[in-house]
């Protein structure tokens, strides 16, 4: 274990992926798998700040459900899960590039080029997964693209499950109708293992849909369900002729070959999702910020986290002081925008309209999935940008990082980002989307791309 501990220290010193480390028994010498956890997900007795200093000293009293499930999963297996620590992300998940770090920690760096972003918000998960030489699973979270974007930038696999499959109990909410806990890993097998280990119906999270756990690992190589049907794949967002898109097209060719070898028929055609593309980003931002602004209102320095009590201030001034001093600029911007969208005189124009359009987007997807099994396109429109360049772009441009991946997130659809190759020596990602609760199918297809 000493080697593992040494590696964690080395990686962290150079790339800043962990905000909190968990003590490891250095004398353990059995089989193991290391596991990292996004800071927004609670693990008992380990400080959980969602990368914000307003939550300094918040030590949760319980494990989140995914941690409990993980511990249970490995109980009767000859392999021990080693929880190594909490990974850095944009404060509360607010960002696509992981430059919005709300605590006294350095910006994490891309594992392939330390001047570039590792993507956000689950950047620490992706970076550490890419960098460690040991078998590793990272428990990440996506609200509007926080798994796909960093997975793509760092060249690892990132699965965002269907909204409602994985319990959110113990996840610090960003936008509670959009937050999804997912998995990052170095190969598709460990994505399947990771999904099996965090899965499990949870009564305590009312949004968790009642279901039986599936054996995702066994189903990876099981072609029987697909032999007699034609797999229909829709290509999306591939109009432009660039390296990212060419990498996706190469992967599609590979996929086609492999399906042919397995005697599985496949049809591939281009699908127009311009309606979804046009409205997803604005709808996503209006709803996610509205929800975030109510979710974050509990953070006021009174019962946990940052405190300055007793105080001579009245409660209003005290709350204003604590929140002004401890939220980052981006967080304040999102709270103000989200509150505005909910106000009585604007809610019809923004919040209510966005909810209606979200419904239309979901309907549109479901209509597409009547005819298609999968949608495939690039995960992100660009490779990981330079950190110095990000500092100069507008908040709106920063939001564009999620252009592609916010669409399935908004519809709660399962999707996976798969490494597709390189562009200028930087990793590129390909995204596969499937219908609600068809993760087994999604992983099966992903496994055909090698």
């Amino acid at each position: 274990m000493k080697e593992v501990i040494q590696e964690i220290e080395n990686i962290n010193n150079s790339f800043n992926y962990l905000v909190e480390t968990i003590p490891i028994d250095e004398n353990y010498d059995g089989d193991f798998i290391t596991i990292s956890i996004k800071d927004a997900i609670l693990i008992k007795n380990s400080q959980a700040r969602s990368s914000s200093k307003i939550l300094n000293n918040y030590f949760p009293v319980n494990d989140s459900k995914v941690i409990k499930n993980t511990k249970d999963y490995f109980k009767n297996k000859n392999i021990k899960p080693i929880f190594i620590g909490k990974t850095i992300h944009d404060e509360f998940g607010f960002g696509g590039y992981n430059v919005n770090v709300g605590i006294d920690k350095k910006i994490p760096k891309n594992p392939y080029d330390d001047k570039r972003s590792c993507g956000g918000s689950s950047g620490g998960c992706a970076g550490f997964t890419a960098k460690t030489k040991f078998r590793h699973i990272s428990i990440a979270e996506s609200t509007g693209g926080s798994i796909s974007t960093p997975a793509s930038f760092c060249g690892v696999y990132g699965l965002t499950p269907t909204y409602g499959l994985i319990s959110r109990d113990g996840l610090i909410s960003y936008a509670n109708s959009l937050d999804k806990i997912g998995i990052m890993a170095k190969d598709i097998l460990d994505i399947a293992v990771g999904l099996e280990m965090i899965d499990g119906y949870d009564l305590n999270d009312c949004t968790n849909v009642k279901h039986e756990n599936k054996n995702y690992v066994d189903l990876l190589n099981d072609d029987t369900k697909y032999k007699n049907n034609t797999i229909k794949i829709g290509l999306i967002n591939l109009d432009e002729n660039n390296q990212i898109n060419n990498n996706v097209k190469d992967k599609i060719d590979q996929l086609k070959n492999n399906l042919d070898k397995s005697n599985i028929k496949v049809e591939i055609e281009t699908v127009d999702i311009s309606f979804i593309n046009k409205y997803s980003l604005p709808v996503y931002y209006i709803l996610s910020l509205s929800e975030a602004s109510t979710n974050l209102s509990k953070l006021c320095g009174l019962r946990y986290g940052v405190q300055n009590i007793p105080t001579n201030l009245n409660y209003n001034d005290y709350f204003i002081k604590i929140r002004s001093e401890n939220f980052s600029k981006e967080t304040k911007r999102r709270i103000i925008l989200g509150t505005f969208a909910r106000m009585a005189s604007y809610r019809d124009a923004y919040m209510n309209k966005a909810m209606r359009v979200r419904k239309l987007i979901i309907d549109k997807y479901l209509e597409i999935f009547n005819n298609f099994d999968f949608l495939i396109g690039p995960s992100t429109p660009t490779i990981a940008p330079l950190i110095d360049e990000i500092k100069n772009i507008s908040p709106y441009e920063e939001m564009l990082a999620d252009t592609y991946c916010c669409c399935p997130n908004l519809a709660g659809l399962p999707h996976i980002s798969i490494p597709s190759g390189k562009d200028n020596n930087m990793p590129t990602g390909m995204m596969i989307i499937s219908n609600h609760f068809t993760e087994d199918k999604l992983l099966w297809l992903s496994n055909k791309i090698k």
């Binding site: 969602s50 918040y58 305590n204 999270d205 019962r303």
Partner: protein, 478 residues
């Protein structure tokens, strides 16, 4: 807007439900388990709103609300939806309250406050109670034991026209809630916010917050009406404002010129839950039409000749009412043994009076109900007298192992109608009280009562007074 009355009153009533646990977690509900818990010891990560915690609704609370909605004739929506009402306050752990905004659990409905009198409701909804704050010496202490306990907010239309009507409304509401077994006046709380406006101010609406119980509501409203009338006379303008009530007067709290914007948002941690026919049925499982206070009163009035006001008072306590009804059916319906009004008198003037003295609710008593039936019959049969009845009634109601019959025998408490026993006493009384005997013989017929009193005294209450009187008359008129 045109009003038909000079005074317009509307109420928003917050009712704490006696569910076993809180609304969104499994902590104890002090309205059920009592409030003897140290401050901040009846809390968990959910009712403290800790980051990462998620609410899950308490089925019992939903069933209670559905039962009430159904009984008072609300329209029940197809789905149960919760919303977040956002405002910052130290007793509100999440700085938003989980409540119901657009689709409350009951729309409309009405509360019956008299045989033919109803108050129409706007709606009822479910919400969580915040914690409680104690402010003293410029310091604020907060106790979250109450945080997250279930409330029903019941909003009337602005249809009441007199303070005593508001009082009657709350009084009857409490009875109705107790009949449904979802509230108990000793552990649960009921607080009202009253909106009041009078013609003289062009119906400018003033809100009085946090009035506890039905006695205060009448006083607070009367005070406020007089205050507003005084203001008008002194040419002061009444503004839209919120006022408090300290038990003797209303006082300014804040101006309402700018309406608060709570930025309501759906509580997405609790997706809409289908309200099925089955679940409505389940909510009514321990409840039927007879569990409505006035239905029960009407049923009794159909069969028995009893004063309405007596019935209203006796049936205030559901269990006492049930016992009363049963007693009437067994003893007054076919056998015609007792006059039902005399039975009612006994319940109102004896039983309820003693319960009030004992400061206890009939349903909270631990006693042998057969004893009570025996005692009532003996009293109505004039086998025991008034004083002894009072003594026995208190023992019957307060001692669970009390053996009434044995006690009466051992202490020889039954009145005697035994002629020879009373004749002996009568003869002695005549001998000892010649003045009264002479007065009677000279035409002062009332002085015979004095002699009856002497017999009663010498028999230590055992002699039946009417028998004694008859025997005296027989002897004296010989």
């Amino acid at each position: 807007m045109k009003f038909t009355s000079d005074i317009i009153i509307g109420l928003e009533v917050h009712i704490s439900l006696k569910t076993q646990s809180k609304l969104f977690c499994s902590c104890k509900n002090p309205s059920f388990h009592g409030k003897n818990i140290k401050a901040n010891e009846n809390v968990c990560n959910i009712c403290l709103g800790y980051p990462g915690s998620k609410p899950h609704p308490n089925k019992q609370a939903v069933l209670f609300a559905l039962k009430l909605a159904n009984i008072i004739g609300c329209q029940i929506p197809k789905k149960l939806c919760f919303d977040r009402k956002n405002y910052f306050y130290p007793d509100l752990v999440k700085n938003f309250q989980i409540t119901q905004d657009e689709f409350p659990i009951g729309m409309g409905g009405k509360i019956q406050i008299g045989l033919n009198e109803f108050v129409k409701l706007h709606h009822i909804h479910i919400e969580e109670d915040p914690g409680s704050m104690v402010i003293s010496n410029n310091t604020c202490l907060i106790d979250y034991n109450r945080s997250g306990t279930p409330l029903i907010e019941l909003v009337t239309n602005p249809v009441m026209t007199k303070p005593e009507q508001a009082r009657e409304f709350l009084k009857k509401l409490i009875i109705i809630l107790e009949y449904l077994n979802i509230f108990d006046r000793y552990n649960c709380t009921l607080k009202a916010d009253a909106n009041i406006s009078i013609k003289e101010t062009n119906y400018t609406r003033v809100e009085i917050k946090n009035i506890n119980g039905f006695k205060d509501i009448e006083q607070a409203l009367e005070f406020e009406i007089n205050r507003q009338k005084d203001c008008v006379q002194n040419n002061e303008t009444i503004k839209l404002e919120t006022r408090g009530w300290d038990g003797t007067k209303t006082f300014f709290q804040r101006s309402k010129e700018e309406a608060a914007d709570y930025g309501y948002y759906p509580e997405n941690d609790i997706p809409p839950i289908k309200i099925t026919e089955e679940i409505i049925k389940e909510s009514m499982i321990d409840c039927n039409k007879d569990d409505i206070y006035y239905n029960k009163i009407n049923n009794i009035l159909e069969d028995f000749d009893i004063n309405l006001e007596d019935l209203e008072i006796i049936l205030e306590d559901k269990n006492l009412g049930e016992f009363f009804n049963e007693f009437l059916n067994k003893n007054c319906k076919y056998e015609n043994k007792f006059n039902p009004q005399l039975v009612a008198n006994y319940f109102r003037n004896r039983i309820i009076k003693i319960l009030n003295q004992m400061e206890i609710n009939f349903s909270k008593l631990n006693f042998n109900i057969n004893n009570l039936t025996i005692l009532i019959k003996k009293y109505l049969d004039k086998i025991i007298d008034n004083k002894i009845n009072n003594l026995l009634l208190e023992k019957v109601l307060s001692e669970s192992n009390f053996d009434l019959i044995k006690y009466i025998e051992e202490n020889d408490l039954e009145q005697s109608s035994d002629d020879s026993f009373i004749t002996d006493l009568a003869k002695k009384a005549i001998l000892d009280n010649q003045i009264a005997v002479d007065a009677y013989k000279n035409g002062d017929l009332k002085s015979i009562n004095f002699l009856v009193g002497v017999i009663m005294k010498n028999s230590r209450g055992k002699a039946n007074p009417s028998t004694a009187k008859q025997i005296l008359e027989n002897i004296l008129n010989k």
